[in-house]
């Protein structure tokens, strides 16, 4: 089973090698250096600190569909979104430090009154991923990560619309959380682990932390010529 292309570990390995393992074996170091200026430098593989191995597979397989790689620009995987989310889980945000988390909880309240679950982000991911993998096992006899891209899209759409019923929590709440964190990681300053090489900023034309347009206000409609800079001073 582990040799079949559809096996989870192999798929994940392929995803990881695409995103994380540079082709050092094939190119010499100088060739690698050359490719770095043309293409984004490959990153060292990231080892998750919060997510378990199956959760990590889920996360990569999900964000890969939320923002897929294509000719228009980086996908969430090469942008480092899973790393961003994992790092967020370890901070105050992941522990619910920014949210009011005292009970009683009334999860059936009208959605317009906002998030009312008892889970902080860490718990939300852990609970939801297990439940979704469970559901996928029952429906597809496979984990989410091992599904084909089209099947994963199908599951994500169903979560978004609330067509899947999960134990313990509404699917829509988790989907909203995942999509929000994915876009955050995609567009936040690279120092948080996502938006590697500012590639998402480059794609849309956002100059990042330049934050000085005094000379540009009175040149209306002119294309802004400078690429992005990051808070730590990288240019792209």
């Amino acid at each position: 089973m582990s040799n079949k292309p559809s096996s989870p570990s192999r798929r994940v390995f392929l995803r990881q090698s695409m995103a994380a393992v540079p082709a050092v074996g094939l190119l010499g170091t100088s060739a690698l250096a050359q490719t770095q200026s043309a293409a984004p430098a490959a990153q060292a593989a990231y080892t998750p600190r919060y997510f378990t191995a199956p959760e990590w597979e889920f996360l990569q397989a999900a964000v890969d569909r939320l923002i897929p790689a294509d000719e228009h620009g980086p996908g969430a995987l090469e942008a480092g979104v899973p790393e961003f989310i994992d790092r967020e889980m370890e901070g105050a945000y992941g522990h619910g430090g920014f949210w009011y988390m005292q009970g009683p909880f009334a999860p059936d309240t009208h959605p317009t009154l906002g998030y009312q679950l008892r889970f902080n982000p860490r718990e939300l991911y852990r609970t939801a991923i297990a439940a979704i993998d469970d559901w996928c096992q029952k429906q597809h006899q496979s984990t989410f990560a091992a599904l084909s891209p089209e099947e994963r899209d199908g599951v994500l759409h169903a979560l978004e619309k609330g067509d899947i019923t999960l134990d313990q929590l509404p699917a829509t709440s988790f989907f909203a959380q995942l999509l929000t964190n994915t876009k955050e990681g995609y567009f936040a300053d690279p120092m948080y682990g996502g938006n590697k090489h500012m590639a998402a900023w480059k794609m849309i034309g956002f100059p990042g932390a330049r934050a000085d347009f005094a000379d540009w206000v009175e040149q209306p409609g002119k294309v802004y010529p400078l690429g992005p800079v990051s808070i730590e001073g990288d240019k792209a």
Partner: protein
């Protein structure tokens, strides 16, 4: 309990209005103490570049906001429902440190229209009392625009507000807002240059016979020295303004207009990490003896004072009055009582305006308030409402405050929320889209109010404030009407596509969507203790040595951003304290 040495004046909360009170009272030589629950914050090092240009930390996680984990509010849509906590930020954001929300506001600096201050009288006179639905309970402020004008100007001069006058002593000026109340003088500084989106909007509005003008802004357009000798520098339209501190010393805030002078006054002291839990009263209940607060180490501290200024922001002001038992709590069943009465909010709508690839909007060039154009033709009572059947209005806003991609990236209508199609749309529209929005009033109603929640508590075990609020028909109608005018402008801009966010009848108030932090009411001012909590000098009718500043005094909400009026009312109040109250402590207005 620790008991501190008595002071003459204690200021509860050290944001915009607390700082104005502090500097205006400092000249009297009285001993003044400000208690602020948050930390000290200053331009350097707290807002310095490049760390300030961090959308995730400030714009999204809200590094400068009140941590909801410690204290929040609860919300329900109707009397009789069970309220639930506002667990994550959405609809509005609270300030939390020295400077308050004045650090991370936009700086959109408006005056009210003259009729806004006498709204009940004005509507009754022009349209008849029956024009207002039975449950609408709008009121007058107990003072007129003409009386307030010098104080509105005083706040603009403090801030170095940039803009172009539309009405100087009754003479209408080309290029300004012809609907504004008469001003004695032009703005202290000229307007910030328009961003491209704003320019396209203004051209379209003008072609339709409307009257666009540059938004009055506390983003300085040029170097400015205010009457305290504090200096602001010109704004560079960095795009990191609202939700952020300003690294350029360009956005007016307590830090950039008052604190450099006030902090050096020997008779002024500030204690940070001091969370006030109640205002203490003597045995008669008619005089305040000071306040109790919890210090950084968690100790209860009693601070005696002769005069208590409550300037903790609208929501916190109401909560402190309720926790302290000052004034009668409002009862929505009888309409009696005043504390918590007339909570109101604002109603917004917005249009995403998408152009072709050859129109370079460069949305990241933006300031919180400068560089934007406004149409005020459909706000307040600037037009005849008779045929429309609603009270109030909205201004229409064209341009953008920045292009921060997590929060501000917009995609054309019909774009999926994720996947390859979303990404393609994000890439293709980002540089070529701008926004047109309406910023509208909300009236006050018998069943919309604030009280203490019976269930949920803050980190100190005190009950949270409970909001009972949902939209009324009047506001749906207002928003529909002004949004249609905004759509006329947008059509004239000839975009490739347009998206629309409009609140329609049946839509509940949704706390997940940011609209504005312009929450109002709950400790309203007026001309009678039967119907208001404060007199026209923002002095409590019940306890004469308690004054309450901020938008909690508004009897209903405006179509404008509130702080221009808040500042004016604060200067009006402090002048009365200085010139009358201190000489003869007691009620400034006889009930």
């Amino acid at each position: 309990m620790i008991r501190m040495k008595p002071v003459d004046v204690v200021i509860v909360g050290f944001g915009w209005t607390g700082a104005i009170m502090g500097i205006e009272l400092a000249d009297t030589g009285l001993n003044i103490l400000a208690l602020e629950r948050g930390a000290y914050r200053d331009t350097s090092p707290d807002f310095s570049y490049p760390h300030n240009a961090d959308e995730l930390a400030y714009g999204i996680r809200g590094k400068l906001f009140q941590p909801l984990s410690r204290e929040t509010v609860t919300i329900r849509h109707a009397v009789g429902d069970t309220a639930v906590p506002y667990r994550q930020y959405g609809s509005f954001l609270f300030g939390n440190n020295v400077g308050g929300a004045g650090i991370h506001w936009n700086g959109q600096h408006y005056r009210p229209s003259p009729e806004d201050l006498e709204l009940h009288s004005h509507i009754s006179k022009r349209y008849g009392a029956k024009f207002m639905p039975d449950d609408m309970q709008i009121q007058d402020y107990g003072l007129t625009y003409d009386e307030l004008e010098p104080f509105l100007e005083q706040f603009e001069v403090l801030c170095g507000t940039s803009g172009r006058a539309g009405n100087i002593n009754g003479e209408i000026k080309e290029g300004g807002n012809p609907f504004e109340g008469p001003r004695k003088r032009d703005y202290p500084t000229p307007p910030v240059a328009d961003t491209y989106g704003a320019r396209l909007f203004a051209d379209a509005a003008r072609a339709l016979g409307m009257h666009p003008f540059p938004q009055p802004s506390d983003n300085a357009s040029q170097p400015y020295t205010n009457p305290h000798g504090v200096r602001l520098g010109p704004c560079n339209l960095c795009g990191y303004c609202e939700r952020f501190g300003c690294f350029m010393y360009s956005k007016a805030s307590p830090q950039t207009t008052i604190l450099p002078v006030l902090m050096r006054k020997p008779n002024f002291a500030l204690r940070t990490h001091s969370h006030v839990t109640r205002i203490n009263l003597d045995s008669t209940g008619k005089r305040a003896t000071g306040v109790t607060y919890i210090d950084a180490q968690g100790r209860q501290v009693e601070q005696p004072a002769d005069l208590v200024i409550v300037s903790a922001f609208q929501m916190h002001n109401v909560r402190l009055m309720l926790l302290s038992g000052i004034g009668t709590p409002y009862d929505p069943n009888t309409g009696k009582g005043v504390i918590g009465k007339n909570y109101a909010y604002q109603m917004m709508s917005s249009l995403g305006v998408f152009f072709d690839q050859d129109v370079a909007i460069n949305p990241f060039i933006g300031a919180g308030s400068g560089g934007v154009q406004i149409v005020d033709d459909f706000n307040s009572d600037h037009f005849d409402h008779a045929a429309h059947g609603f009270v109030g209005g909205a201004y229409i806003y064209g341009g953008q405050t920045g292009g921060r991609p997590i929060q501000q990236l917009i995609v054309p209508p019909g774009t999926p929320g994720w996947g390859a199609a979303w990404k393609k749309a994000a890439k293709e529209s980002y540089l070529h889209a701008t926004t047109v929005a309406t910023h509208g009033s909300v009236m006050s109603y018998r069943d919309r109010y604030l009280d203490l929640d019976p269930t949920y508590k803050d980190v100190f075990g005190q009950p949270l404030l409970r909001i009972t609020f949902d939209w009324h028909d009047n506001e749906y109608k207002m928003s529909q009407f002004v949004t249609s005018r905004a759509q006329d402008i947008v059509r004239q801009m000839k975009p490739k596509a347009t998206s629309l966010t409009l609140r329609k009848p049946g839509d509940h108030y949704d706390v997940r969507q940011y609209q504005t932090t312009h929450t109002t009411g709950g400790v309203i001012q007026g001309s009678s203790p039967e119907t208001s909590a404060l007199n026209r000098y923002q002095q409590s009718w019940d306890v004469h040595n308690v004054f309450v500043t901020g938008a909690s005094a508004f009897p209903q909400n405006l179509g404008y951003n509130p702080t221009g009026l808040i500042g004016g009312l604060t200067y009006n109040s402090v002048k009365a304290i200085r010139e009358n109250y201190l000489k003869n402590p007691g009620p400034l207005v006889q009930a």
